[in-house]
């Protein structure tokens, strides 16, 4: 009732609205229709909902909300929104509210010795980062490094967790500018205060130029890598025993404590077709690989035959690609311009992107879809920002601006955190992002 009094003073028009939500109990407001001024934007609506919640529960802490009308996020004043969408203001308007997708907490930065070039947060138990000092690191949580992966002779360009299902042993892969990929195994559970140094159990040689990107098959028995020599190589990840005879060379290195064997592996097959550096690969399904390249194309490969099934030409050199959305159908890619593009290959006849997000001001270095939500994705850029996007609006839903310089990599972690690393040699974790 306070609100009504407030709005009576203003001379703006008023709209009958009803707030609905799919959120659980503490976030529910009474579904009675109320009249609110039409010049309110998201902030105003959010404060109204908060006040309504406060009326129910006096202990209520203010919480940002986002509002959906007809499946579209409200990013302007209600009046404008209704005008643009051509919605009648006469009827009672149903506004759905969701918790705003924004980090509510900023964890301590995790310092590295050099630029953080790669990050993978696909395992909820730890974060894997790659660094320009040629070391890979495992972080249990912010600021707590448990393992250091040692062995590359060049900067690590990409890291990927292959399988983290096994209770103890976890396999990860790293790619480096020294033209090799290395596979590592460690026990994620053993955690000491002092980070344990591990050596790779397998070295994969075969690329003629620096390796740029790795992707792992969902089953975890194969990985693929894209390189500056314009090729994509497929590798087996299983232990040396199966084809150890063929691969021959075994090196024995005497470490301080344990004697470890390192085996070398060769590529199972090579996908040739790109004319320039393959900057990013993803392996979302059993037998298809998507790759993005500096030759301005996104290609879809069939793993069995090694043929490329379809091309999308973008016009810009691409740096990153990810597959996501409803039914893993949308291709998001960013590159040498500030536009994050999303294609829908199911759409016939056209290769124009279905979404273009252009709030960044420099090259896009990474883009990742959210694991569970088909609507959310993040992008990081050389302008030092990580942006969270919702397909229902053209503006970023949230901007994480904690890095001081270029952001080189970013990923989701545990479904509600964003991890990102950059030129300022910090791994930043922005947590408590609520995505249903």
């Amino acid at each position: 009732m306070e609100i009504e009094r407030e709005t009576n003073e203003g001379n703006s028009r008023r709209i009958q609205v009803r707030f609905i939500t799919k959120l659980k109990a503490p976030y529910k407001v009474p579904t009675t229709a109320i009249a609110i001024p039409s010049d309110l934007s998201r902030l105003g609506l959010s404060s109204i909902v908060n006040k309504l919640l406060q009326a129910v529960d006096s202990e209520w802490k203010t919480e940002p909300f986002d509002f959906l009308i007809d499946g579209e996020l409200v990013r302007m004043s209600l009046e404008q929104f209704l005008l643009v969408k051509g919605i009648s203001a006469e009827k009672i308007l149903e506004i759905e509210y969701i918790r705003a997708v924004a980090p509510r907490k900023e964890e301590e930065p995790s310092p590295h010795d050099d630029w953080v070039s790669a990050v993978d947060g696909s395992s909820p138990r730890f974060i894997l980062t790659g660094c320009y000092d040629s070391l890979g690191r495992i972080w249990k949580q912010a600021g707590w490094c448990t393992h250091i992966l040692e062995g590359h002779s060049g900067a690590i360009s990409s890291v990927r967790i292959i399988n983290s299902e096994g209770a103890g042993s976890v396999t990860v892969a790293t790619a480096s500018k020294d033209r090799t990929l290395r596979l590592w195994k460690f026990d994620a559970e053993d955690s000491t205060d002092h980070p344990a140094r591990i050596r790779a159990f397998k070295i994969l040689r075969g690329h003629n130029a620096s390796v740029h990107s790795i992707a792992a098959k969902t089953s975890g028995d194969m990985i693929c890598s894209g390189s500056w020599d314009c090729t994509i190589n497929l590798w087996r990840t299983n232990d040396t025993d199966t084809n150890g005879d063929a691969v021959s060379i075994k090196k024995r290195k005497v470490n301080n404590k344990i004697e470890e064997s390192q085996s070398e592996g060769e590529a199972v097959s090579t996908l040739v077709g790109h004319t320039q550096c393959v900057s990013s690969v993803v392996w979302p399904q059993q037998d298809t690989i998507y790759s993005a390249s500096w030759d301005h194309s996104v290609r879809k490969w069939d793993v069995e035959t090694g043929k490329d099934l379809s091309d999308i030409f973008c016009g810009k050199a691409l740096n990153c690609i990810d597959i996501g959305g409803e039914g893993l159908a949308l291709i998001a890619a960013g590159g040498s311009d500030p536009v994050l593009r999303i294609w829908d290959p199911r759409k016939p006849g056209t290769s124009a992107p279905v979404f273009q997000f252009s709030s960044h001001s420099s090259w896009i270095s990474a883009c990742k879809w959210h694991n569970t939500s088909p609507l959310h994705l993040l992008s990081s850029s050389y302008d030092g920002k990580v942006m969270l996007w919702d397909l229902r609006t053209a503006w970023p839903v949230s901007i994480i601006d904690t890095h001081k310089d270029k952001v080189l990599c970013a990923d989701w972690w545990k479904g509600d955190c964003v991890v990102s690393g950059g030129v300022d040699a910090q791994l930043r974790i922005s947590s408590d992002i609520s995505i249903q």
């Binding site: 900067a155 003629n208 320039q276 016009g315 810009k316 311009d337 090259w363």
Partner: protein, 672 residues
Amino acid sequence: MSHQESQKLDNVNPLETRVEDVIERGDNDFLDENHDQDEHSESYQSHQAVDESDSSEDEVAPRNTIGDVPLEWYKDEKHIGYDIAGRKITKKERRDKLDSFLASADDSKNWRKIYDEYNDEEVELTKEEIKHIRRLLKGKAPHAEFDPYAPYVDWFKWDDAKHPLSNAPEPKRRFIPSKWESKKVVEYVRAIRKGLIKFDQPKEEPRFYRLWGDDSSSADRTKHLAYIPPPKPKLPGHEESYNPSLEYIPTQEEINSYQLMYEEDRPKFIPKKFTSFRSIPAYENAIKDSFERCLDLYLCPRVRKKRINIDPESLKPKLPRRKDLRPYPSTCYLEYRGHEGAVLSISVEPSGQWIASGSKDGTVRIWEVETGRCLRVWEIGEAVQLVAWNPLPELPVLAASVGADVLILNTGFGNEEEQKRVKELLHIGTPTSDDSDDMSSFLSWIQDEKYDCIRLRHYRTVSSIEWHRKGDYLSTVMPAGESRAILIHQLSKRLTQRLPFKLHGLPVSSVFHPTRSIFFVATKKNVRVYDLLKQKLIKKLETQLREVSSIAVHPAGDNLIVGSKEGKLCWFDMDLSSKPYKTLKCHPKDITKVAFHRSYPLFASCSDDCTAYIFHGMVYADLNQNPLIVPLEILRGHTSYDGRGVMDCKFHPRQPWLFTAGADSSIKLYCH
């Protein structure tokens, strides 16, 4: 005499029909016998009369005073013209038909009287004249004494002329009227009767005429001479009226204020009010004004201005729109920071992954293009003038010039095999043995232990390094090197040759042809093109520039751009001429570098004015089509330092991107 007579008859020509009538009549009735009777006597008399009339005609001026104007103008007037005293000359009373008939009945000589409308008088024809007319009507010669059938006198002498042109008798057909002509005539007659042939309608006379002619349009005047109408004098306005409205009359204060003005600014005429026409005095300047007007009219030359109405936009050359020429670099997204002095030179690795830079702070750096990470630094200790990456991807070595030395550095890229090869290549076991060679005093190959590289010690400062496309040869230019100014080194054999040509002028830069064994040397004024296999000069390109600073060859090899120190850029089409195909004056300051893109139709120039220009330079395979040059973009972003701006620019080998090295110690990457 007969001539004069016929003239007179001509004058009376309009009256001929009437005369004919008269004569016909005379023929028919009473005058026949009369005529026959005194034929002889009359002929004599008429001779006399003609003589008389002839002489009298000379004396008597035409009575008509109106001049050569159509008589219809006076059709409705009582008078015709004016006499010398200004009185109207009244027309003779027009006798009506009855009177004239009566008169003809009375007067037996009336039939030979004719009314001369022009002079408004009656003329009586003499017997002689009638006879003339009669003969003419019969189709005979007017004079009776003329004998048309006089015997033929053959004046041609037949004695010597044995072969006359033609002695054949006239053929009969000459005397027979043409059958075809008569057929044609019949045809025409039929057509006229049926109305198929129409004759021109008689012109309708304009009812009104201009008494004083047409003076305004002067259409027929302009037909003849370049007539320019004089400027019209200003017409008097309200203020010149004798009784102007009050607002035109200046107040006393205004009149006083005129006194303070300069003589020239003072108004010439002060409006005044007069109560009546009578009180207006004579205009004192009347004579002066008209005199000046006359002077204006005949002294001021009048010139016809030829104004051409051309839309200035249409004079611009039709260029394609910039939008259609994408991609081209336009925005700076990445910057490579780390140098502490002006970056003098950059070079991009052939695959486009790395970029090397040499700086005034004495370092050579290698950067990762994608992220801007500095990967490697060599501290040379002296300003690095030039860096050049070997064009072979499998031979990752870098040439850098430091003062008089050229270092060939091992970048450490490439796999183990390549590294092994590079190390072998860059290792000189013993210093070059053949000291007898005269080259050795000017150039020596030294193993540099500190950087593990080859040091080519020249004896003068090196201003340009250029690799051959096969990666084995390296040319260096020493502007002060006189006859050994341009050297070509062979890396695998560690040999150095000098260019066996005499150069005219100081060499500035040199470049290898991208596909053939042709070598370009830019001196300060022109560019010389040599064939290295045949060892001869092919061409000399005259730049017409003050001082050439840089040169770049189109990847197809037939086109060349040259940048100059006065900011001009010349494009040479070598198939076209030895003169520049196009000269672009774009930079206000020195051009430091020009560059072609390897695959896109782009070229760029950078200058000390802190800008780089991007051009579209399309070369067509069709020899008839000239290259298309379109300016695309001005890239700004560098700041001036120590008077220098952008020192070097290089295109990315595969992307439409441009790297620029600035004196402000930064390297920028401009992307599309």
